[in-house]
């Protein structure tokens, strides 16, 4: 080899190594096949074109944001009239496997596919995960001798397998026998993905019923139903009644709720009704909110109607009527009370709070909507008309809009400061009359 050839080889090698080093430094997944492998002397040193696009690449649209496309991303590009669902996802995966027999770049592809699953709405589908695991070439990564088993054989692939299983875990998908078989075929029985699989099988079954307040897996999409579920979830009293004060106007597009007619749903139990009936009109009651409640991945907001705790002086001692029970004395007239050894009343964890009279969930968080709720409450609680209601709505209605569409609107500009308005009898009388 002449020195010229050596220099060229060195340059090519260094470029290759540099490429590898740079990718290693940036932390991008190390694919087995580098895009710029050192070539032989006889090949041109020009950058080797990646695999010809398997899907005809439409002209790149001008984008404001310059994002480096991950390899194979074009497989997931939506056809202009296509809808992102399971079928198209499966199609994209099958495209990869069909046209890429040697499955080059499968690790990258699997990572990409894991990222794209949420868009396609298939993150809870076990068949898709099995399909992804199926992309791995079988029997290649299994350790065959003791040296393979001592050292982590094919570490990146094992990491990728673990990543698939981890995404399954995060979404609460239980693997099945097919997954086990695939993992055994791909990685062998003593591999880390298989270990993770075995752990998943044990602990998921044990932790399935661990939530004392379980939320159903498939949450309803309709905001009214979702609010109903959330209110029932929050209220421990089973005698409480859910009332829909206002339904959203049904329109063609089911997403947006009409800003003038959001849904209002409230819940109140008979004990709360009785407490409200006994509430002294001299003390105002407050509408507070919005507070957030997370149900799996959906966040809903609720408001409460509450009153402050009466100071001890004003609390009326419940009078035991003298002639109450015909059969036995409700009160013994003894001079001494309970001994302190038997007194379990003090509990450091219990903090006494003022009464909460009702909870509601509404589409909008402004005073007008909540006033409508109060009006609706008045039908079942007539004494509410005489009690002053103060609206204490907190500043940020920092809502997370449901990202059913891919684009997210920036949140609405929040009103400054805390609103505190006396909404007195006048308004209610006006609304009544």
């Amino acid at each position: 080899m002449s020195w010229a050839q050596a220099i060229l080889l060195a340059r090519g090698l260094s470029r290759g190594w540099g490429g590898i080093c740079s990718t290693a430094l940036t932390g991008a997944p190390f694919s087995q096949v580098t895009p710029q492998a050192p070539r032989g002397l006889h090949c041109s040193t020009a950058a080797h074109q990646p695999d010809s696009p398997l899907v005809p690449r439409p002209p790149e649209p001008q984008r404001g944001l310059v994002k480096a496309l991950a390899p194979h991303e074009e497989l997931f590009r939506q056809a202009p009239d296509g809808v992102r669902d399971k079928a198209s996802f499966v199609q994209a995966v099958q495209n990869f496997t069909q046209y890429n027999v040697h499955k080059r770049g499968h690790v990258d592809f699997i990572y990409l596919a894991l990222r794209k699953m949420r868009e396609y709405g298939v993150e809870r589908d076990l068949a898709i995960y099995n399909l992804l695991l199926d992309i791995f070439p079988k029997e290649v990564f299994r350790p065959r001798n003791i040296f393979h088993s001592i050292f982590l054989h094919y570490p990146r692939q094992q990491e990728c397998g673990i990543a698939v299983l981890e995404q399954m875990e995060n979404h609460g998908v239980m693997p099945n026998k097919e997954t086990e078989f695939l993992l055994t075929q791909i990685f062998g029985r003593k591999s880390y993905p298989m270990l993770k699989f075995v752990r998943m099988k044990l602990w998921f079954t044990r932790f399935k019923n661990i939530n004392p307040f379980p939320v159903p897996r498939d949450l309803p999409q309709d905001p009214v139903d979702l609010a109903r579920l959330a209110l029932r979830h929050m209220e421990p009293d089973l005698s409480a009644r859910v009332t829909v004060y206002q339904m959203p106007l049904s329109k063609d597009s089911t997403d947006a709720t009409d800003p003038t007619e959001p849904h209002i749903i409230g819940i109140q139990s008979p004990d709360q009704q009785a407490a409200l009936a006994h509430h002294d009109p001299a003390h105002p009651i407050f509408v507070e909110g919005p507070f957030s409640l997370w149900l799996r991945d959906k966040c809903v907001y609720y408001h409460i109607l509450r009153a402050d705790l009466l100071p001890p002086e004003e609390r009326e001692v419940e009078e035991i009527p003298e002639e109450w029970n015909l059969y036995y004395p409700m009160q013994l007239d003894l001079a001494y009370g309970r001994s302190s050894w038997d007194d379990y009343e003090f509990n450091i964890d219990e903090v006494e709070e003022g009464p909460v009279f009702a909870i509601c969930m509404a589409g909008a968080h402004d005073q007008a909507t909540l006033a409508k709720w109060i009006q609706g409450l008045q039908e079942t609680n007539p004494t509410l008309a005489r009690i002053p209601v103060v609206f204490r709505l907190s500043a940020s209605s920092g809502e997370l809009l449901a990202s059913s569409s891919g684009l997210e609107e920036p949140p609405l500009t929040p009103p400054e400061g805390r609103e505190e308005e006396e909404n007195n009898q006048q308004r209610q009388q006006q609304s009544q009359s």
Partner: protein, 566 residues
């Protein structure tokens, strides 16, 4: 006593002939009930009989029987529960108010007709929204403008004899001006006749048992009641109700005992004739146990009932309401248990409607519910007793709480002596003792129990004080111990008397007495050990936890045995 023979006939039962005076025997009692006619209104005919009620004193035209005689009569009448209930509703609670709290002219006006049976009385207290809670009754009586009438409005539910009665004792809320001028609503008792108008009765209720008696709703719409018909004083209805309810209870003991005796006869007849595996049923141990149980319970019931009746017959007006309540609780529960066992002896035939057992079982279920449910009465027994004990102990408790050294030393030394386990001698046995030596052991057990019980009551009062009203599980145990103690007392005294007087079969009585005393002794020991603080036998905390979890979800919360997670 000139009133002789009562003929009471129901389509259900055939004829029931009750002879005169004390030595009554039912002469013809057919055990064949006819299912088809056992409906809500089997056509109870109360013929124009004289003396439907035998309690009113002679002035009213009644028999003027004492409590003991009343108990004796109850034994016979109870062979048919529907008749017994109807008669009890008429005279034990219906017209008892007039006797206890009525003025002379009210008695003169109403009692003769009621005593002769021309008019039937009923007791109207329960409303749909208020059972034991007297302060929540909604029936209102407002004074009219001319202050001569009260206008009554409201409705009462589950009134026995509601359809037949013409005289009602109604409890309603009236406005009463207090001594300091405040206006309050208080309960007042009225005597209301059906002729006053505005009274409607609903249709007879379809009940599980005692289907021969008439139970229905009674509605009062603007019924005008003259002011003279107020029973007692305006606003004093609560006390009247309490007195009425507390006075009629003890007769349940003798009534149930009478029924059980008849039941033992019928069942023994069957057990001794039926053969299985070449042996009579009566030779099998488990069947024998059932008969022993029935005999024992009947004996105790009788003893308790007649002891209470005897106490009530003492001169003066002794307050035996606790004893009466104890009799009622014991006899109602024993009735349910024994009738169930008797039905069990018959096996399949007991279950058939051809035999009277199932009817008697259904009839006896109401015993646990009416006249004060057993749970409520247990509270009453325990609380009234604790109130009494508490007053006596107040001085000592105060001293202990203040830390008086002498009292503390006394208490400590007492406890030490108790824990050393010396026998207690309260004077029941021995030379001057009332109990016959053949029951010496049982008497010792009673004494021991009483002693331990007194210590436990002291501790309980010290621990809980006034708030013991809320500790119902503790009160239940106290009441159970009390009932057992009273039963033991009654049984020991009766058996001793039988021996000393020389009644027939007194050794059998001694056996029954000893059995009951031993059983009650061990039950009491267990209950007393449960009443200790931190005792391992006391499961109250766990019970409360379980019930709280069940009631929170209002369902059974465990996972199904076939549930899987994978």
């Amino acid at each position: 006593m000139s009133r002789d023979i009562y003929v009471v006939r129901t389509v259900e039962e055939g004829e029931l002939l009750v002879g005169r005076g004390q030595g009554c025997h039912p002469t013809s009692y057919s055990t064949r009930g006819t299912p088809a006619t056992e409906g809500p209104n089997p056509g109870c005919q109360y013929p124009r009989q004289r003396d439907l009620s035998w309690r009113p004193r002679d002035a009213g035209g009644g028999l003027g029987l004492s409590n003991t005689m009343y108990a004796r009569l109850g034994e016979i009448i109870s062979l048919d529960c529907s008749i017994a209930v109807t008669l009890a509703a008429h005279q034990a609670i219906g017209l008892k108010g007039i006797i206890l709290a009525g003025s002379e002219e009210q008695k003169a006006r109403y009692l003769p007709k009621l005593a002769s049976g021309e008019h039937v009385a009923a007791f109207c207290l329960t409303e749909p929204a208020s059972g034991s809670d007297a302060a929540s009754i909604r029936t209102r009586a407002t004074l009219s403008e001319d202050k001569k009438h009260y206008v009554l409005n409201g409705s009462k539910v589950w009134i026995t004899n509601g359809g037949l009665a013409s005289v009602f004792t109604v409890f309603a809320k009236t406005e009463v001006v207090d001594s300091n001028g405040s206006v309050k609503d208080k309960v007042t008792a009225f005597i209301v006749e059906r002729d006053f108008g505005g009274i409607t009765s609903g249709k007879p209720e379809d009940k599980l048992g005692i289907r021969g008696s008439n139970t229905c709703e009674v509605h009062f719409e603007n019924t005008r009641v003259p002011v003279e018909n107020v029973l007692g004083e305006v606003g004093g209805g609560f006390k009247v109700a309490m007195n009425i309810l507390n006075s009629g209870r003890f007769s349940m003991g003798s009534a149930v005992a009478g029924m059980l005796k008849k039941l033992i006869e019928m069942t023994a007849e069957y057990a001794c004739t039926r053969k299985q595996f070449n042996r009579n049923l009566s030779e099998f141990g488990l069947i024998q146990e059932k008969f022993a149980l029935m005999a024992q319970k009947a004996y105790v019931m009788e003893s308790m009932a007649y002891l209470t009746a005897g106490m009530l017959d003492q001169p003066g007006f002794p307050d035996c309401s606790i004893e009466a309540a104890m009799v009622k609780v014991f006899s109602s529960e024993a009735a349910w248990q024994c009738v169930s066992e008797a039905l069990q002896v018959l096996g399949g035939s007991g279950y058939m409607r051809d035999y009277p057992y199932e009817r008697i079982l259904r009839d006896s279920r109401i015993l646990l519910i009416f006249e004060g449910t057993n749970e409520i009465l247990r509270m009453y027994i325990a609380l009234t007793g604790l109130q009494h004990a508490g007053r006596i102990l107040t001085a000592r408790v105060k001293q202990l709480k203040q830390g008086n050294v002498t009292t503390i030393m006394e208490t400590v030394s007492q406890r030490v002596r108790d824990s050393l386990g010396r026998t207690v001698d309260l004077g029941l046995t021995g030379k001057l003792g009332a109990v016959h030596p053949s029951m010496e052991d049982s008497a010792h057990k009673l004494e021991q129990n009483v002693h331990d019980f007194s210590r436990t009551v002291e501790t309980l009062l010290l621990r809980f004080g006034k708030t013991i009203v809320e500790e119902q599980l503790v009160l239940k145990r106290v009441a159970n111990i009390l009932i057992n103690l009273y039963g033991m007392t009654a049984v020991l005294s009766r058996a001793s008397r039988s021996i000393r007087v020389g009644l027939q079969n007194h050794d059998h009585e001694v056996l029954l007495a000893n059995i009951f005393c031993t059983e009650a002794y061990y039950q009491n020991l267990f209950a007393l050990s449960q009443l200790d603080k931190y005792s391992p036998e006391n499961l109250d905390e766990l019970i409360k936890k379980v019930s709280q979890q069940v009631l929170e979800k209002r369902a059974y919360v465990c996972a199904h045995p076939l549930d899987r997670t994978s």
